[in-house]
Symmetry: D2
Subunit: 294 residues, 4 copies
């Protein structure tokens, strides 16, 4: 193991960074290609869409509004990890098919969560990016499985995971041969209860300091409040994030999942204008859609 | 969902307890039968064995010493969830086979962790109890899969899971038809760093207050210190635990996994004598091996 | 500073233990004399009384019931640290005088909290032991002030304090010349919300391992639930605590402060019987009142 | 108490906001006047200076460099709350006098911490703003004492204080008649160890949502890393902070306190240019020094 980790003793609590994700191994920032959209050092990429795919209409309307406002990648959950077995569990395979259809119609590549090793191959055939959710960040068999696919992976930080554990989870994927990994800070669990989680924006510069992998932020799960999403999205970009993933729903009040933290298309559109200003103020830019995006 | 949860507003932060695990649904304490050994209200059951199965000799020697000292169920990991991909990942299927062999030789039923939905059926054929580890407590597809088996399940609390989330995870299993679930407190993650985790012993009376399921405690993972295991094992029984699960290794200094928190057979033997005194002081007893244990 | 701390690298997160409280400096366990009652290695001492002194009647009745059941030291707050300025702030100097009167009548020495450096001398004249509350554990000027008194100090762990910070706070007191310090674990703040705090019972063996100072436990604040106090009191003794401090109120439903976590005299009496059994099961005993206690 | 708090049930964990700090009581944002510098809705104010006053030279050189780069208020500790009694405890009264001298020379008002109720009157005579440190956020007698002064108060959030407790602490000050309170987010304690604390930037929009008081951010204590301070300072402004407080030292490597998180004058100067860009991108501006600032 000694050979496989570089320790960074300058960090307060110490941090042992594994070799493949380590910036000392590869000093230049990595770029991850998601169906033609490049997440990495050349600009800020916005991923948006509903928490869960609910119907063709819901997905269609939301996806086109995301596209109109400059979102480059569509998000949507088909397999939903829910704390209670009595909550809506997602449309499953049907949801994947709807995502694929709408992705073709809009020209936006899409990312969706995988939860079961037995689904990975199927989802990897259809989706442009596989998401590992927060609760599965240390589901090591799932990490190995997505590490064997040819599709990029969006790895969300566990709500209880240290920076070191987060990078070790990414290392599981790279160690299987898949280097197309994007890290996502989405809030950690603390004693504070007015927000759903505590969005740890200092994780952005820390992860970029320790690793060459791109880092994006999820201000929807990170705060749990619709009205707070725009503010924290701006702060994330100022903190150096390479992108954002946000929940947008055409009718948040009636969403089957996470409506309280979803913004509507008008809010999303207004936010996109603001985000570009912040990106420029920190010396980067919002990546804009190109005619041949996919 | 309203119909499926009873809220307990008397609890400080509130707690919504799902219906099947809820003590209001079934006021009497449940008993779970693990290969003939009953975990529940009639006494304290001790589960012990190595963190990981390393070899036939290691398992054989440790298992017989566990049996001699009064341990009733053997534990041992074949599939190991490790933070780093470069750490020992367990012997896999070979480990399961060794556990089965030694289980037959000693007459002790055994519990072992499952990590992958694809392994569940195989492990359920051989093991007497399936363990869901801390990092998989919210791996909902895995919970559903063990919920469809005929074998009892040892569900470990996630290191950052609330009591409510823990009970919801158990509900996933019961909701599939498997009511043989034992809850295990194994330490939660806090800001304190002198111990590996913070063993939350108040979870024992709380879980027993809210649910009819048996509750056991893991003082090995809960503390991370070999010298602290006996003290916290005693405290767990005083707190009302229905059992303990502990790491015992015939040579902790050379263990491939968690040696720093494993006690040796002599320490285990001495501890068992002390535990019976505590159990009696709180009005129960240590369950002793019977000739026809399996 | 190097000369003043011994580092204990065997502890998981490391722990630098200052010299005066360090067990390496003084291997034998210390004993603290509170008005004739000795807290230390020779048995378990129970401190009990109301959260706040409310009236002469309330204190009188509660104190005599504490005495009858075997409590050896009376507790009661006159200066109350309350999160909200609109909550009952205590009777102040009047409360101290009532405590003194009832202490004389019952023959029980008493401990009470000091919050202000300007009160310390006055309180030290009357009380047998000065309490530093959780929120003041790092009020360094207050620590220095009680360090200059001739009375023993009950130092409660801050709800956010590591073991290392707790021992450093005690060192502030010893460094002023006052070695009569008792450490008190009273629950730490974590993400869990069904209990008021998370009672960290592993702190008991850890503190006794690192320091020679006596360690007691407060299961009332540690849990926030009246019904949980007896169970966690027993667990604390099994974990090796040298004593307990508990809130007892003759009418918890009408207490001006913390009634939800106070037990009544009958519950206290029943608990004292149980505690002696546990103490004996771990090789110690409940210290019983002597005719010449004060 | 019912009359004195407005509950905000829309917040996830609930939050009871006391009346005087509550935005419902006073919808417009408050402005706090610190020796002529106004902290509030009309722009971003930067406070900077050394962690501790060490010598006349150190303070003189640092203060003039702060002034040259556009810092408007000088910070510096004379009474230092240190975890260990063997660490540098500050110059005390001598430090206050040096701060006063350099404040007159530079024309910058200054803020300094008070720790002892017996010092408050003296410090209030000299300083332009009184700081309550993180460890004293619930030192209620100290809060009441500064509430009786005519000087503005900088109240730092306790490292384990909830938003509700933070606002209740501010209420203690306002309730004594002093409405000149600025809230400061400075990082909370979590399980993460690569940073000194976890800077909770979502506290900025949350506090401004619930209260009319100005909110500033301390990225030095919030991260514990000098290299991370500029990034998190920018993110704080994007999150809507009304100001920043930062540690600047003319020679961080030789600082007696917190050198690892202090930036040097060159870094501070470069940062000030960047901060103005961010401020403008979010529709505000960095407040610039005026000829008659004091």
């Amino acid at each position: 193991m000694e050979l496989n980790h570089y320790n960074d003793p300058s960090l307060i609590g110490g941090c042992s960074v594994p070799v493949r994700v380590n910036r000392k191994t590869k000093p230049e920032a990595s770029e991850v290609n998601v169906g033609g959209i490049k997440i990495g050092p050349h600009g800020v990429v916005v991923i948006a869409g509903p928490c869960a795919v609910e119907s063709r209409d819901q997905l269609h309307e939301t996806a086109f509004s995301v596209k109109r406002s400059g979102g480059l990648i569509l998000r949507g959950g088909a397999f939903k990890p829910r704390s209670s077995p009595y909550n809506f569990q997602g449309l499953g395979i049907e949801g994947i098919k709807l995502l694929k259809e709408i992705s073709i119609e809009t020209g936006l590549p899409f990312v969706t969560e995988v939860m079961d090793t037995r689904q990975v191959e199927f989802v990897a055939e259809h989706a442009d990016m596989l998401q590992i959710g927060s609760r599965n960040m240390q589901n090591f068999v799932l990490l190995k499985e997505v590490g064997m696919q040819k599709k990029p992976v969006l790895l969300k930080r566990g709500m209880m995971a240290t920076i070191e554990e987060f990078l070790l989870a990414a290392e599981y994927i790279l160690n299987q041969g898949n280097e197309q990994v994007v890290l996502c800070e989405r809030g950690i669990r603390t004693f504070e209860t007015t927000t759903r989680n505590t969005l740890d924006l200092s994780a952005v510069p820390m992860l970029k300091h320790l690793s060459h992998l791109p880092v994006i932020v999820d201000p929807s799960h990170g705060t749990g409040h619709r009205w707070m999403v725009p503010t924290m999205a701006k702060a994330a970009i100022a903190a150096g994030a390479d992108g954002l993933i946000m929940e947008v729903h055409y009718n948040p009040e009636e969403a089957l999942c996470d409506g309280h933290q979803s913004i509507n298309p008008e809010e999303f559109s207004a936010l996109m204008t603001d985000l570009d200003k912040i990106a420029q103020a920190v010396g980067t830019r919002l990546v804009k859609p190109e005619p041949s995006a996919k």
